[in-house]
């Protein structure tokens, strides 16, 4: 019984949070659209539902807040009041309060928020807005006092909720990217549908709420199976070669190849389980932009596309902060003040776009603003002043690499970062967070046209395709995504321009680095670290990270292998250039290199494309 109550309370928290998340952007929409009965009804019903369930569970503060804001929503819906900014402000405040109350429930921290001032504020806002004061609700607690008998089913407050993923069987396959759109999540509050359109018919139970930990367990196991599969492939190859005409060896090869296919399918299936629409993260942005545009006094239009794109749950969890940070930066630093925009002949209202789409095995998130763009020379100058790079390095930098300065720890172009975009953390945090997801960030900027941030993140995080290479007798794995091509060149093909090794590939000059140097290990026989090597032939891996392109020289290419990333604790990937480790088909532990951190190191070293 307690278990079930616990489950119900967890359910309540999840459901209420979902509702709040869903309605928050609706407020902003409402403010823009003015009166919209459907929207109002939608919001009203969500508040109403939260109130109802909270009442059953005896969460009185939640009931009080929801009830008071519901009173306002009801009047708005019934056309007795007009939506005004002060009213929206106080209702949004109540959304924040509800969220805080839910957090306390979830954390089980026993902290009690004093909701009385807010309830008073809501009541005051209502009476201020109501023309006929006579019809005011006088008592906020009518009809909502909890029944004592709730205690009967409610002996102990349960543990905080374990998160759960809702697995939804897609009702229809659609979307341009070919990703199945999930059916409408079963929500307390209704999905936005026109009143007269019939609801989607659900046949039987199609949804199953599963604890994330269980799915992760399956994911882990799938990863282990991948490792075993890789080893088996190796072994079966060996037997096939060793016992060329042996029937059993052939059967083994066949069986293993079947296992290979099934394993890949399984991986994909498990991966899908963890995918959720990125909308979850984006829903808070309209509100954020609304609040921000008011406080920095800039009019901003936020346009979001591709919010149905599905990404891994881990991405959902870690992408929120970087996106928020970039968005704040775009509004705070990117967009010009209104008067400047008008002077430049731009529309007075600034525009920020967020586009999300899938590209191959990656999810791309673009944040574009139509602001003033970055001043590259100013960036360089500041970086030199702050001692982040030397004047010589600054001079060598191309415009493309210079924009990456903003990602350097301790860099901020404004003398005093405003509270909104700054808060002490710089854009380096964005880069770090995205790197944690094995992704990378690109920036492109044009003066007076705007700035675009492009975040590229792999669809899955646990299993990646890599290229196995060898230097000084040790194997390393390099993620396949950023690799453009591999080449074999002779030593004569390598030129040296102002101290930097370069190689010309189809008329394009590309900086070349020795992997041994990057990793700070001695190359065989010749450890002077100047990139020299005795052998006449060299294998070159061409890496392309956004606009940057560079080459890494290795001794040998071993082959392509799908590996499971095992994270190594206590390792700083930005210094070691190691992302994690994996166990290869032959049972050895191999480091996976962090190409984005290597690429970052190139800033100031590389002399361009």
């Amino acid at each position: 019984m307690t278990d079930e109550m616990e489950e119900i309370i967890n359910e309540f928290i999840t459901e209420a949070e979902e509702s709040l998340e869903r309605i928050e952007p609706l407020f902003v929409e409402l403010e823009q659209k003015g009166e919209d009965k459907e929207l109002l009804n939608d919001i009203f019903r969500s508040m109403h539902t939260i109130k109802g369930a909270a009442g059953f569970l005896g969460f009185q503060p939640i009931v009080d807040v929801a009830h008071s804001s519901e009173n306002i929503m009801k009047k708005l819906r019934d056309g007795e009041l007009a939506a005004s900014k002060p009213l929206m402000d106080v209702i949004l405040e109540s959304v924040d309060m509800l969220r805080a109350l839910l957090d306390h429930l979830k954390e089980k921290d026993d902290i009690e928020e004093d909701v009385a001032p807010l309830v008073q504020k809501l009541t005051d806002a209502l009476s201020a807005a109501t023309t006929e004061d006579a019809t005011l609700p006088s008592d906020n607690n009518d009809a909502v006092s909890p029944d004592e008998s709730v205690d009967e089913v409610f002996d102990v407050l349960p543990e905080p909720s374990e998160e759960s993923i809702e697995i939804v069987k897609p009702v229809q396959e659609s979307s341009a990217a070919g990703i199945p759109e999930p059916a409408a999540l079963e929500e307390c509050a209704p999905v936005q549908t026109k009143k007269d359109s019939p609801p989607k018919v659900k046949e039987g139970a199609q949804n199953l709420r599963v604890e994330v930990s269980r799915i992760d367990k399956v994911m882990d196991l799938a990863g282990e199976v991948v490792l075993v599969r890789n080893r088996l492939l190796n072994i079966s190859n060996y037997f096939e070669q060793q016992y060329n005409n042996d029937e059993q060896a052939e059967i083994l090869a066949e069986t293993v190849s079947f296992l290979d296919r099934v394993t890949s399918d399984m991986q994909l299936a498990v991966m899908r389980m963890r995918m959720q629409p990125i909308k979850k993260v984006l829903s808070k942005f309209p509100r954020l932009v609304r609040d921000m545009s008011a406080s920095v006094n800039k009019d901003v239009d936020l346009v979001i596309s591709g919010e149905g794109t599905e990404v891994d749950k881990t991405v959902i969890e870690h992408i929120g902060d970087p996106l928020t940070h970039i968005l704040r930066n775009s509004i705070d630093h990117g967009l010009e003040p209104t008067e400047d925009r008008i002077a430049k002949g731009k529309p007075a209202k600034g525009r920020v776009e967020i586009n999300i789409y899938q590209k191959g095995n990656q999810v791309v998130i673009e944040i574009l603003d139509d602001g003033k763009g970055m001043d590259v020379e100013k960036l360089k100058q500041k970086a030199v002043e702050k001692g982040l790079i030397t004047a010589e390095e600054a001079h060598k930098m191309t415009d493309e690499t210079a924009t990456d300065i903003i990602f350097m720890p301790g860099f901020s172009t404004k003398k005093q970062a405003t509270e909104l975009s700054g808060r002490g953390v710089g854009m380096d945090v964005v880069k770090t967070n995205v790197s944690l997801l094995n992704g990378y960030v690109e920036v492109s900027t044009r003066k007076d046209v705007g700035t675009t941030f492009k975040l590229c993140i792999p669809l899955t995080l646990a299993i990646i395709q890599t290229l196995m290479v060898e230097v000084s007798g040790t194997k390393y794995a390099i993620p396949l995504t950023p690799i453009e091509e591999t080449l074999m060149v002779s030593k004569d093909d390598i030129d040296n321009v102002t101290g930097q090794n370069v190689i010309v590939i189809r008329d394009r000059v590309c900086p070349l680095f020795e992997l041994t140097n990057l990793l700070g290990i001695d190359s065989n026989g010749n450890g002077n670290g100047n990139g020299d090597n005795d052998s006449e032939k060299k294998y070159i891996i061409v890496i392309s990270m956004g606009d940057k392109r560079f080459c890494i020289a290795v001794d040998r290419l071993v082959g392509q292998e799908e590996v499971v990333i095992k994270t190594l604790s206590g390792l700083d990937s930005s210094n070691s250039h190691v992302l994690g480790a994996t166990i290869t088909g032959d049972g050895k532990v191999v480091f996976i290199l962090d190409v984005s951190s290597i690429s970052r190191k190139m800033i100031g070293i590389a002399k361009g494309q």
Binding site: I8, A16, V153, V191, T193, V201, K202
Partner: protein, 130 residues
């Protein structure tokens, strides 16, 4: 005895379901009026407990629609809502609801309501497949 719980709120459905199950009833869930109409013919339901405010089809519409069917109109309906409003209560009872209770209702009050409604209609029994 089987009771259908019609509520658009997942938490409330579960909570009421739990409450009823601990009192020996079996339950079946629906998310709104339309969903209820779809499911009600599929199994024998002795009582419908419905919320008022729901998307697609609200509680009032559900009661009205049930009343138009000779078989389904025999199933008693108890409205369970946060609306503590005499007008709504009169409307619901006027349309044919057998009871009207205000959320949050639990414990003996709800149990007694259910018991008395079921007793009043016990002679007619439940409804089998339509």
């Amino acid at each position: 005895m089987k009771i259908m719980i019609v509520d658009d709120c997942r938490t409330t459905r579960k909570l009421l379901g739990h409450y009823l199950k601990t009192r020996g009833y079996s339950v079946v869930y629906a998310e709104n009026g339309l969903d209820a109409l779809e499911k009600i013919g599929l199994e024998e339901v002795n009582l419908v407990m419905t919320d008022l405010n729901m998307p697609y089809m609200d509680g009032m519409e559900l009661i009205k629609t049930l009343q138009t069917d000779p078989v389904l109109s025999e199933i008693p309906v108890l409205m369970v809502t946060t609306e503590n409003d005499d007008e709504e209560r009169d409307r619901a009872l006027g349309y044919g609801a057998s009871g009207y209770v205000v959320k949050p209702v639990m414990g003996d009050e709800l149990a007694n309501n259910i018991k008395s409604i079921l007793q009043n209609t016990s002679n007619e029994g439940g409804v089998s497949n339509v």
